[in-house]
């Protein structure tokens, strides 16, 4: 069974068609690099998959549960970090994660918070309010709330945006460590990230899927070209 399954998802904002007829399927152990220029519909697709937006047409399933029909079951198996990793700024990191864990009904909330703080290397700032954190820490807080319940499905909208190279490496390290047990979709603008981290590339442009294959086969299709050249070729 595919852990993430989307069928013919479409979404318009007024007259602008943001996502058009997108279908995709992600199995356990896969890490999908979700690529596309700004405004291509990456974030909208992720919002549809996570159940924040309702599609005009089509459906999405998380771990077998339809996100519109059984939202609570689907969402409890999903970890989602929206673009910019929003968090309640006036709470401390620890309080925020504890709140997330409680809302998710985790029985061992305190232990999970402790473990996640350690895993995401947030223990040093656990008592600081989110508003006072630097961008790198904030992004990690967003990531931490998404993995606190060790979900089967992980959808991360630009989790490495604005991080320095070391921090990016750190996020990739954590992701790779857990990837084989999960189905992961990561949107990014960093093409080198795709080559090291992702098992498959889905490239979208103007709301439609342009390619859906492994990084290797994509590179093989355009001999002698670099990833960024292929990206430009497919999206312009």
């Amino acid at each position: 069974m595919a852990l993430i399954e989307a069928k013919n998802l479409s979404k318009s904002y007024g007259t602008i068609r943001a996502v058009s007829n997108i279908s995709l399927s992600v199995e356990r152990g896969e890490v999908i690099g979700f690529l596309g220029p700004n405004g291509a519909g990456k974030s909208t697709t992720m919002k549809l998959l996570a159940g924040y937006l309702q599609p005009d047409q089509g459906s999405a399933r998380i771990a077998g549960f339809d996100i519109s029909e059984s939202p609570v079951e689907a969402k409890s198996r999903l970890g989602y970090s929206p673009e910019g990793a929003p968090a309640y700024g006036e709470m401390t990191v620890k309080e925020f994660l504890y709140f997330a864990a409680t809302l998710r009904g985790l029985k061992d909330a305190a232990t999970r918070v402790h473990e996640t703080l350690a895993l995401c290397r947030l223990s040093d700032v656990a008592g600081q309010t989110v508003d006072t954190l630097s961008k790198g820490y904030r992004m990690r807080v967003g990531f931490a709330q998404a993995i606190i319940h060790d979900p089967e499905v992980l959808i991360l909208d630009e989790p490495t945006d604005g991080l320095d190279p070391n921090q990016k490496h750190e996020v990739r390290r954590i992701l790779s460590g857990m990837a084989e047990r999960k189905a992961v979709i990561v949107s990014t603008h960093l093409l080198e990230e795709v080559e090291v981290l992702c098992t498959r590339v889905i490239l979208i442009s103007r709301g439609e899927i342009r390619c859906d294959e492994t990084p290797k086969s994509l590179l093989a299709r355009f001999p002698g070209k670099r990833m960024d050249e292929i990206f430009r070729h497919l999206t312009t």
Partner: protein
């Protein structure tokens, strides 16, 4: 239930994380007491009851319930946390109810801080405590009705300032309905029976029976309906974002 409780606690404690809470509590009580003493001639009247204290509460709630309610949804929108909250395994209704009850509990805290007024009248005379309790209930319900309106205004926007101003305006209209000035104005245009019907939807006309110790079905229904309608409408607006 678990999610409702967690949201209620977070939202309620959230007020005290910012100076807003203390400003709110101080302003509410300073105004509630000074209006009663200096404008309402509470002391000079020589009567041991609190109706001169409660009479100004619609004004206070019209101003302060939108202040407390402005952040309910607008702040979630501004911070982007709405997207987080609604992709956690929580229904919009649980979130909305938790938030609303937290804000109401906060208004109740402000109101509870005025309890020394009860001690004052009890020391000065022999007030009817049942009437006073009824007045407090009425005031709390009146605050809930204003909060319902504030919740709708907060669901409309990502700006707390806009949420506050529109909420205040809507509540302000309900306050002045039923006051003499507006009645006189309306009698010039409308037949008399309409004027008195219009007055019935005002906050004060519905609070008045409570301050006299009368627990009427109509005002009770009025406040609860406005609060519930506001809660329901704001929830639908968030659900259909």
């Amino acid at each position: 239930m678990r999610a409702f409780r967690a949201i209620l606690a977070r939202e309620f404690l959230g007020y005290f994380r910012t100076p807003l809470a203390y400003v709110f509590l101080a302003v509410f009580n300073a105004f509630a007491v000074s209006l009663a003493f200096f404008v309402g001639s509470f002391y000079e009247s020589g009567i041991a009851n609190l109706d001169r204290f409660f009479i100004y509460h619609p004004w206070l709630w019209a101003f302060l319930a939108p202040a407390a309610g402005a952040r309910l949804w607008a702040e979630e929108r501004r911070q982007g946390t709405l997207e987080l909250l609604l992709t956690w395994p929580v229904t919009v209704w649980q979130a909305a109810l938790g938030k609303f009850m937290a804000a109401w509990l906060f208004l109740a805290t402000a109101l509870a801080m005025s309890l020394p007024m009860v001690l004052t009248v009890s020391w000065l005379g022999k007030p009817d405590l049942g009437t006073i309790a009824c007045g407090y209930l009425g005031s709390l319900l009146c605050g809930g009705a204003c909060l319902g309106i504030a919740a709708v205004c907060s669901a409309l926007t990502r700006s707390q300032v806009i949420a506050f101003v529109t909420g205040f305006l809507a509540c302000f209209i309900l306050v002045i309905i039923g006051y003499g000035v507006l009645d006189n104005l309306l009698s010039g245009i409308l037949p008399a029976q309409y004027v008195s019907n219009v007055a019935r939807i005002g906050l004060w006309r519905n609070l008045e029976p409570f301050t006299l110790g009368i627990l009427g079905i109509q005002p009770l229904t009025y406040f609860i309906s406005v609060a519930l309608a506001g809660l329901g409408l704001s929830t639908l607006m968030i659900e259909r974002r």
